[in-house]
Symmetry: D2
Subunit: 140 residues, 4 copies
């Protein structure tokens, strides 16, 4: 796994699937949350970690809050670029923001707050290695 710091920013390309469109002809708005989820887990993979691993060790990240602003629609087969940034870490919470681009156009922005919980559903501290390796981010 090495010891590389978890990057504060990363990006992932996601192509809009047919099943994700709706009869308006747009990517249905609920799918942005699924793209955000995929995007933030890829940040971990970039340094050889995986969210799967965190869950296997008993650290679950449950969504506590999400906000999305939709600026322009995405359509079937669009190749979207989701830029994800870790903006804040507290002992039990993790905040990301997201920007979704189609080519150079910003089509959506989002923010999430994740809470670290155990298998029992109770809040618990994020794993030490995770906090240590996410070094470039404001901690409070």
């Amino acid at each position: 796994m090495g010891d590389a710091p978890i990057p504060a920013t990363g990006e992932v390309l996601i192509r809009v699937r047919y099943a994700e469109t709706d009869q308006m002809g747009f990517l249905h708005h609920a799918n942005y949350l699924i793209y955000f989820e995929q995007a933030r887990t890829e940040l971990l993979r970039d340094v050889g970690l995986s969210y799967k691993q965190m869950e296997d060790e008993g650290f679950l990240l449950a969504l506590a809050k999400v906000e999305v602003k939709y600026r322009a629609p995405a359509r079937y087969d669009d190749l979207l670029r989701v830029v994800t940034t870790v903006v804040r870490i507290t002992p039990v919470r993790l905040e990301h923001k997201y920007e979704v681009f189609r080519e150079t156009t910003l089509i959506a922005e989002g923010a999430t707050t994740l809470a670290c919980i155990g298998r029992d559903g109770k809040l618990q501290a994020l794993p030490d290695w995770f906090v240590r390796r996410t070094s470039k981010v404001e901690k409070t």
Copy 2:
């Protein structure tokens, strides 16, 4: 269709489907947006209208903004009650808030802003009959 005012508040019962859970054992967070969508369209149906009809007449309501706060998880087979309120109407926008209950426990709160657009994707005024019949809501 009559001429009954569109109610400012309504509620709908939604049972959590198996396919909507994730491996954490919870209703996956993206599905709340789908529940909100179902809930706000039921408000129209209560007075003999339908969102389908609005679309057929060329008035599309596209999501411009959403916010959700998750307070407690929902699980497979839970029967959730989504209370929806129209909080504001402008000539081209419509704002709702949502409260999701499992029995008497508030498990999530949300807010959305919808923009009225035409088939060309451009903003247009909400239909007159819609604004007129949503009479109890603050208009700006």
Copy 3:
């Protein structure tokens, strides 16, 4: 819970959600599998049982096979009637068939085979009470 036999046939009404449509303007075909899942669990609920309960007791029903024939499209806001029939029970498998109607038009037919597995993913016999109470069905 009583001891009423699990009915061999039942039906459930499902309204097509906006998010379930695709840009073709139809209910996306993958959602039929989710409707089938909801429909077969409602068969159990009709006699005071729940699939949730089976899972809690360690009996998981995993899909082994599915087949769907799509005869006519369904659209947003359609109220569909899914008629479900248990067609066969073996010690470890359960077969259903499904007919989806919009008013009196048969729009799709399906069939599934479920395998009973444990938390370890291995095949195991269906619970005794389940087999006993599903009495009207061919057993092999």
Copy 4:
């Protein structure tokens, strides 16, 4: 667009998303249909075509039949390989088969029949260029 023949077989890698799992801890079975859809459209892209283009020209491919056999579960974060083969073309129909692998293990097999329809929902012949370029496949 060139004139390269549409390949009779191709493959695509798809990573299982968290939102696609269910509380059994597996990739929910309905998602295989969405993976199949993505896989067959990538066959077209391989030769510089796109399904989007077909739709824009008024040729819609609607699912007429699907069958899936599930052999082993997939889990969150698994990188699956979907091998897709065009097995038959008739004037108005297109048949594919699919094999889903996790590393070298075959975890699912599927088959679909697509019908070519127009915007009016009526059957119509597949576009000439499509039939001509899918030259290696049995035609009947």
